[in-house]
């Protein structure tokens, strides 16, 4: 960054612009495996400031990497080409909640749980339910098309984005979408920015559809002596037909981790399903009984049903704790975020989980599997010694095999976490026929390639294990 640009940014932002060692290092990583230092961190307070920052970056051709809460798992917020990290957390106002219109308008730095706390008093919700709900920002969720355990019934973030205010890579402020529930007014550009991971512009305002909170909720904790039976139960429930509000699967590695991490008290079995239904009271009672019957017929060994939030809330808490709690699974191994959210057709969940186990055994890497079974979105987490080059190499081989398996099952390499760097080569494989169009869109909007460069289809390597935030040098040139 030139001295001239530095001075201009300092003048514009004052104490909200920093090149300090502490800030640059703290902003060099997110929850992914990567580290790269930005040259500076800028924190805008409003859209106009964002626009001015972007105009400067475009003028001096300096990369900008937008960042929300920094809870992403694929490195979308890691500034791999340096430049400015744009911290959007201070733009955190809930501008309006209008249940009568069925939408709310928020700034990108609003935290998911904070928004839902406000919506709750009006009897409404934005039901994305990401695992990182207590920290994740709405802007980040839109940028990654994030979702969570309730996508089977409520969909993903893209299904709720009615409109956006976006600062384009030229600094121009653009409004896309509408403040109406429907529109057929030209290209649906708001959807283009959903999942664009900060490569096309900066989201500065989001109009989100909201839905009413359910009147009642009930859940079942179902044990299985074989993963295959759990997979069969998932398919049988959907085919019944029952559309639960969530249906989570956890393998024994995840169960053990959650029990150790937060003393969750989950049954020590090969696999469990946590199944939640919601809706009108009578319907919930009927559906949870149907879930129980289908699970029994599918070979469940034990079923606990509860409509007590204190009880099923703990099951959900256990499920949410899996990712971080895996970190304490073994004293010598650490959890690293690899192959973290593949999607497969619901009927192929069991095939995928069994396949992951085989890949784990074959590559001698502990791989824990859990996820949103009801929508086919599975998470794996790897436990390795992050200081050992060989562990990383075996892990990468397993990652590649997992993605090959997922694609062979007609799946996708990412269901809700995005691409960033961690899935870039595999996304290129999955979207082979669309890459050229994606590049054309990027070139058209961002001719100087300042917006989060080097990610997704711009990733140049066939490998993903590089720029690590862990103490290992991994060399693939052998």
């Amino acid at each position: 960054m030139s001295e001239e640009m530095f001075k201009e940014l300092q003048e514009l932002l004052g104490e909200n612009f920093t090149t300090s060692t502490a800030a640059r290092y703290a902003y060099s990583s997110d929850a992914s495996i990567y580290r790269a230092m930005p040259d500076a961190v800028a924190r805008p307070m409003n859209t106009e400031e964002v626009s001015k920052i972007v105009k400067l970056a475009n003028k001096y051709k300096v990369p900008i990497t937008p960042r929300g809460a920094g809870t992403g798992l694929c490195g979308a917020a890691v500034p791999i080409k340096g430049g400015i990290t744009l911290d959007m957390q201070a733009m955190n106002k809930i501008k309006s909640i209008t249940p009568e219109n069925l939408f709310c308008i928020v700034e990108p730095g609003v935290i998911y749980d904070h928004l839902n706390n406000e919506l709750k008093s009006a009897g409404y919700q934005f039901p994305g339910s990401p695992g990182s709900a207590e920290a994740a920002n709405i802007g980040g969720m839109v940028s990654l098309n994030a979702s969570g355990m309730r996508a089977i019934k409520y969909g993903a973030t893209r299904d709720y984005v009615l409109g956006l205010e976006v600062v384009l890579p030229t600094g121009e402020i653009m409004r896309v979408g509408t403040h109406t529930l429907k529109n057929s007014s030209g290209y649906q550009l708001e959807k283009l920015f959903v999942g664009s991971e900060g490569t096309l512009g900066i989201i500065t305002e989001v109009t989100l559809k909201i839905v009413a909170l359910p009147k009642a909720v009930a859940a079942a904790l179902v044990s299985f002596d074989k993963v295959e039976k759990a997979g069969q139960a998932i398919s049988n429930i959907i085919a019944h037909p029952i559309i639960p509000s969530s249906m989570e699967i956890m393998d024994n590695t995840c169960i053990t981790a959650a029990n150790r991490g937060i003393d969750a008290g989950l049954p020590d079995v090969p696999a469990i399903l946590i199944i939640e239904v919601d809706g009108p009271i009578e319907e919930v009672g009927r559906e949870i009984r149907q879930v129980e019957e289908v699970c029994k017929a599918s070979g469940a060994t034990h079923i606990i049903v509860s409509d007590d939030k204190a009880v099923y809330g703990l099951w959900h808490e256990a499920r949410k704790s899996v990712l971080p709690a895996l970190g304490g699974f073994s004293p010598d191994l650490k959890i690293v975020s690899l192959a973290d959210d593949m999607g497969v057709p619901i009927s192929r969940v069991a095939d995928a989980v069994i396949g992951f186990k085989e890949i784990s055994d074959r590559n001698k890497v502990i791989i824990a599997t859990y996820g949103h079974a009801s929508d086919g979105n599975l998470h794996t987490k790897f436990l390795i010694d992050p200081s050992k080059e060989d562990d990383w190499k075996r892990a990468e081989k397993a990652v590649e095999e997992i993605y090959d398996l997922v694609l062979s099952l007609d799946g996708t390499v990412t269901g809700e976490h995005g691409v960033g760097m961690a899935k870039a080569p595999y996304m290129k494989k999955e979207r082979a026929t669309a890459i050229k169009t994606m590049k054309a869109i990027k070139d058209a909007l961002d001719p100087n390639n300042i917006m989060n460069p080097g990610k997704m289809f711009e990733w140049e390597s066939d490998h993903i294990i590089m720029n690590l935030r862990y103490p290992a040098e991994v060399n693939f040139d052998e």
Partner: protein, 392 residues
Amino acid sequence: MSDEKKYIKGDKLKALYDQTLLCTSCGYCKSVCPAFKGTLWDHNTARSKMVLAYGLLQGDIPVDDSVVQSIFECTTCGDCMRRCPSNVKTVDVLMAARQELAGLHEVPETMELALENIEKFGNPQGEPASAREEFLPDEAKAKLRTGGDVLVFLGCVASNTDMKVTSAIFKILERAGVSYTTLGEKEPCCGFLNYLAGYESDAFGKSLLEQIETLNPRPKMVVTPCPGCYRTLHHIYPESGVDLGLDSRHILEFFDELIEKGDLIVTKKLEGNVLYHDPCDLGRHAEMYDEPRKLLSHFAEVKEFKFNREQSHCCGGGGGLQSTNYDISSSMAKARLTEANELEGDFIVSACPACKSMFSNAASDFKKETGKKFKVRDLVEIVHKNTKGRES
């Protein structure tokens, strides 16, 4: 700081290297971290302290003013450690990082001043030693350094800044007929601030021990109204090999015993909504939750903050943050008062002179802004105002 780059030695942090790798950066700590809430900068979160500790240990980053400031912009309240699903020992890592910085004589300038005061005057406020006796009632002055069953260790904050608490303690002890003594101008600083700054505090313990040895009869117990002093006397000294040879307790435990024994008799109850605030050093760090509630329940029906006990929110006065960044610190106190206001609290009662000081200052601003008046009290004051002795 000079232009030459400084790097840590690593001898303190090395043992916690594993913890820095255990952190998955999931961000759960951000939802509870008061320093983050007060600034919205990521480098103030617990997870970023883990990242910075890793960077320091690996030699990725040098020690400069920004790193020092970031490592010290934390109340060490420990809520991150409670929330962490990976059970990362965040506060231990932070304290080891501070020890590394102390090894290079790097602490924030504002804290440096307080430490210099401790060295010169024996207290962080820079008051002369004789000031410790100014607020003492005559009965206590008569028992200075005389020996007795109970040694009252007032601590620097109560001694030098809170006349009401200081006076109340001795009036209660007189009322209950307790055999006590106190050190007055000979009371050393406990060294808790030095500990928080990353320095050793055992020399302060030895200094206190020397004073205890001069007392005749030798006390069987030391009591203190300050959670920081309590932690130091009860946990930190023993861990650093200093044995005072007597039982160390927070004074609230002792007062409750006096009530239970009938040496103190409750005369009246408080009117209004009484909220108890858990000081971090007494709660999360010393796990003393039931005792203060039990004592307070003699005087009022105890109402709880929404976030209480293990989940209590920090007043902003911990970890030396007051001296490092008063703005963040005071914003935390104000946030806690906002919570109290939502619960229509009238009294905010704590068992810590630092909490009382933070809330008192914030309450003054709160009244100006909203008109709402809180009665901020230390438990000691509640006991003083609402009890009598057996004979009276």
